[in-house]
Amino acid sequence: MIDISIKHSIEEASKVIGKTWPLYSFVTSNPLSGYENQHFTKAIKQARLFLNAQVFPNASLFRDALDQGAINRKLLVKMLKENAFTESPEFYLSQLATGKNEITNDTHNLDRTMSKWLAVFMDEGLAEWEMPNKQKGFFKAWRKLAVHDNSLPKLNLDDIPLSSEEALSSILKDFPKEDYIKIFTYHLAALPGWTGYINYRNTTKSIRQETYPIILQDYLAVRLCIAKITNAKIAPEKTTTPDEDKLFKLQYIWLQAWEKSWQSELERLLKSQKITHDFNKESANDLEAQMVFCIDTRSELIRRHVESAGKYETYGYAGFFGIAMDYKSLDNELIRKSCPPILDSSYQASEVTLENQKEQFAKYTRITKLNQFKEYILKRMKNMLPSAFGFVEGSGVLYFLFLIARTFAPGYLLKINKNNSIDHESFCEPQLKIIDDTSDNEEKISLEVKVNIIKSAFDLMGWKSFSPIILLVGHGSHSANNPFGSSLDCGACAASPGRHNARVFAKLANDIEVRKNLKELHDIDIPESTVFIGAEHNTTTDEIILFDSDVPKSHFKTVANLKLNLAKAQQTATQERMGIKNGSVALANKKANNWSDTRPEWGLAKNASFIIGPRSLTQGKNLDGRCFLHSYDWKTDENGKALEAIMQGPMVVTQWINNHYYFAMVDNNIFGGGSKITHNITGKFGVVQGNGGDLKMGLPLQSLQETDSKMYHQPLRLSVVIQAPISRVSEILLRNDNIKTLFDNEWIYLMVLDPTDNNNFHYYEKRLVWISENTKINNRNQHQNSHVFEMEESII
């Protein structure tokens, strides 16, 4: 029987690690999510202590920000003064310049041995010969092999307890129970990437995890067993935290000054917009098309360019289009999540061939199978003895040709591939069913559910009228030789491309029954002439492709014109993004297929704000891809339900993304992935640096920085801006403690533009206290002495 206190202590200790996502579906999540119920400063202090991580931008980033004006000098000086730092910013910069130095790892042997076993156990098919006995679970599999391990002292099978429970109990019996958490934290934090992946496997419960189980308890048991056998430390030495309070406080002021500078820039920008233009007032009849883009920061740029390319209106909505589904691939039948990781999937979408397209489907299948066979035979030939030698000699010249082609003509190769491939979207349509329903029956999804999916989209976005064409634009990224490719795909679709959800939404919204129901019960009247079309924005090339195989003839002309204008938008958007006038599209195409490009695109780098409000708030403004945009109209949302849903869902996702970017930026080696140029893929799901070691848990340096020393992303906590009456927002916070905690603990900021108060800016402080330029609104009518820049004594 395992000691309850052991189980409990493991749970408590596991807060120190986050989740390491596999790179084939890489979700940017907060590495400190275990600490989210604590204040930001408290959490980062723990991270600093246990993970030996940097938790603030280093001095050179601060210096660059100050030099570039990203930190407002006046503001900074004022904030420093208020905290009794009276010298110049430069003076304090030199104090901050205490970089982290490389130190010898005192658990080197233990860490090395553990990473060896973890890597072979968790491998997902890179090795032909898997670790024996994996199905017995990590501890038992290790136990069987440990007796053969000549890197350990000679062992007999009887020397090692039978199970991880017994192992932990027997090793820990010499320690007081109150030390357990400390011991476990110490050992879990030693390899946070690997233990984070165990964490991930435990929450997803995939078939692989069920077949080859591994839990944190196994990890700890193996580790402590090896520690005991090799006489390594079981319990950490008492560490005295260095007295860096002053430094910490300084760093925090600098960070806040940077964030405030951004907020006031944004405030100035948003205020300069005359908010007289009433949202959606223009009759949609004038519009040729309306388009829904993901809230992703990359949509901001393309939306601007699409809007100026014709009579188009754009909206921002979470890129999974409100459909909590998994998607089953036509190619290999693998099922992957296609909705935010915070949601449980309710449906599964799969592809069905259209009646008149069976031939195309057969052709497609043939090609897919042939490709799979090619992969298989290559693998066999390379692995087998002695064909590996003959194979190399026979294929060497071909590899020579590939080398030349991929190095010198990546753009041309992309064209060839495009011309030779068939998109299954042209002959298939997506079909939705209830998840875990084994029959392929769409009918089981009730009309009510379908109607609800469509209705909530219009509700959340504050939609009023319909143009002839409505595009649902998901987004996906295309890059070559990029282990982090999925990190560039749609975050709202759990790092899958968003096209499937877009197509499902379009299909539902075109359904006659659904429309009838919407009209009769919900007073949403979609004209017969309106067609919904799924589309995908390729974020690497800014191309938008339409899945328009079943658009009625009546719309051909408009669609053709739309495509022309989208091509124009691609042109201008890439010009802005690449900073060149000529050949920007060609350059983008090249980047999308260049195997030597470590920065094919910038993903969500630079994200700093989430704006919830109508497009009229931001239209025509260059936000430089720094803002997530969610459409919302406070007037059509009287009870605040729509806003609440936006804050519960999309806002939390943007907070994950933003916090991930922050931490990956401030300590790229610990929270990020380090540099791509020395990455070594492990187990088909992750990367390690160089010869091995800890699994990397976050975005690589190339996703965040222009060069090794020049930043691209600015590590700022997200500023959420909402246009809504302040009382409505306060009510939502009151109802949702989890959201309120995020703001109270300063993981993110909240600003409200109150339309009932002249669109004045109000900054949320904490405990429902709001501050505007001159006034302080306290929704609870409690008087609190607070100040914008004051920091709580208890946390510093």
Partner: protein, 489 residues
């Protein structure tokens, strides 16, 4: 947050791009390609009559030198082109370019050196530069350790090579390679044997042959393109060295040693590759196995085949390293393979295998006589048979495809190989005994049998029943201790 601000940023980026147009790496890349084009067109136009030129006692030039020069400049140029983009923003990009240039030059001088002092210094310099590339990221502790570890290996190799050559120089009273090799018959056999052994040790250190495989498995701290250069260029040094000193190996009768060491490594490394869970380590095991095979080819007396192999393997391995970021994939749990075979399928395998062997022998001018060349023919036959087996078993291929696919594939594979082999042979024509079959030795027969057994063990997956073997191979292929998790960043 004004648009003007962004425009200035954009402008800055653009002006940076303009400046980088004249950067060191651009110049170096251009130089490498220029050199390649010159040398390669020279080789093309003077293909079968490249003159032998001597530059005093210091250097010499011939078809073989021209061949290696074109290969080295090609790989250097290609990897430099790749790196320009891949390493952009890397703090030590210029250092990387300079080291690559140094590496290219050191091989070029090495292969054309006639004076043993130049020869030895270049051998060491090559190793030194490669170790610097392994540790090019010089503020990374593990990289520095890996660099040091590799350099110690190379230093040892250089030491052995120096001892071997100095021993011969003293016994022949000459300081040039050509003189030494011409006067070997005056040297006592035991001296020849010792010298040959020393040379072999130097060679197998460079090629990471067992038991000197560890440095290569610890060298992943090098940026990916540096690894490509290492696996397509550096490790081949042994093939070049052994070819240049082929006479010594033949005279000292040490070919069998090469065959044995190479053969054992080829088998061992190929099995070790099966358990690797990291892509670069997997590639490294593959390289070690391929180098083992190359050394075996030397041991069979086919130095020209070894050179053809190292070039083709270079293309293959450079490609795999440069595309090593493509191994991320969500996948199902592995299912056991179906390894049964029907009589008709077996017949097809046999038929194509034999056809492949005939085609190979015809194209490369070999005979079916019972000599050492038979071993190479056997490898080709098994490879063809293996591929046929996979093709005829594939359910999704039509019978027509099953007939045509093997025919076309093998014809292309064998003929492109033969093209390379014959080109190499012609270019090496003026070198003494680089392509000579010897009477089949007992050991070759044994290895032929071992390869066959190995083939079946792999095919049937019998090895999976031996967990102790798994652990042995796993521990054997671990990187050197200090090159992993030694420091906290």
């Amino acid at each position: 947050m004004t648009s003007e601000l962004f425009n200035t940023n954009k402008f800055l980026i653009m002006s940076n791009m303009k400046i980088s147009f004249f950067s060191i790496q651009k110049i170096i890349t251009g130089f490498m390609w220029l050199l390649f084009i010159c040398i390669f067109s020279y080789v093309l136009f003077n293909f079968s009559n490249i003159p032998q030129v001597k530059l005093g006692d210091l250097f010499r030039f011939n078809g073989f030198v021209a061949l290696i020069w074109s290969v080295v400049t090609f790989f250097s140029g290609l990897i430099a082109s790749y790196s320009e983009n891949y390493l952009s923003g890397f703090r030590y990009q210029n250092k990387f370019s300079l080291l690559s240039l140094g590496f290219m030059m050191s091989i070029m001088v090495f292969v054309s050196a006639n004076h043993i002092l130049i020869f030895l210094v270049m051998w060491l310099l090559m190793g030194f530069i490669m170790s610097r590339l392994i540790g090019v990221h010089s503020d990374w502790g593990e990289a520095k350790e890996a660099s040091k570890f590799a350099f110690n290996n190379f230093l040892l190799g250089s030491l052995f090579l120096s001892l071997g050559l100095v021993l011969l120089a003293l016994n022949t009273n000459s300081v040039t390679l050509s003189d030494i090799l011409a006067n070997l018959n005056s040297v006592p056999h035991y001296v020849l044997l010792i010298a040959a052994l020393f040379v072999i040790i130097a060679a197998i250190i460079q090629s990471a042959i067992f038991p000197f495989h560890k440095w290569l498995l610890s060298a992943m701290t090098a940026p990916t393109p540096a690894s490509a250069l290492m696996h397509a260029g550096f490790v081949n040094g042994s093939g070049i060295l052994l070819t240049l000193l082929a006479v010594l190996l033949v005279e000292s009768k040490s070919l069998n040693i090469l065959f044995l060491v190479g053969g054992l490594t080829a088998i061992l490394a190929q099995f070790t590759k099966l358990i690797q869970v990291q892509v670069k380590q997997k590639l490294a095991c593959s390289t070690i196995a391929q180098m083992g095979f190359m050394i075996m080819q030397c041991g069979l007396g086919f130095f020209n085949a070894a050179i053809a192999h190292l070039i083709l393997h270079g293309f293959y391995k450079a490609y795999l390293f440069l595309s090593s970021g493509e191994e991320i994939q969500s996948s199902d749990i592995q299912k056991p393979l179906n390894i049964t075979i029907k009589p008709l399928q077996a017949l097809a395998v046999l038929f194509f295998g034999i056809m492949g062997a005939f085609l190979f022998n015809y194209f490369t001018g070999k005979s079916f006589a019972l000599d050492s060349s038979l071993f190479l023919t056997l490898i080709v036959a098994i490879t063809v048979g293996q591929a046929t087996y996979n093709i005829v078993k594939e359910k999704h291929l039509t019978p027509l495809q099953k007939t045509f696919l093997p025919t076309v594939l093998f014809f292309i594979g064998i003929s492109t190989y033969a093209l390379m082999y014959n080109a190499v042979t012609i270019l090496m024509d003026d070198m003494a005994i680089v392509s000579q079959s010897y009477k089949m030795s007992f050991m070759e027969v044994v290895f032929g049998v071992i390869f066959f057994i190995g083939f079946f063990i792999m095919k049937l997956g019998v090895y999976k029943n031996y967990p102790w073997l798994y652990v042995k191979l796993l521990n054997m292929s671990q990187p050197q201790k200090k090159t992993i998790l030694m420091y906290k960043p």
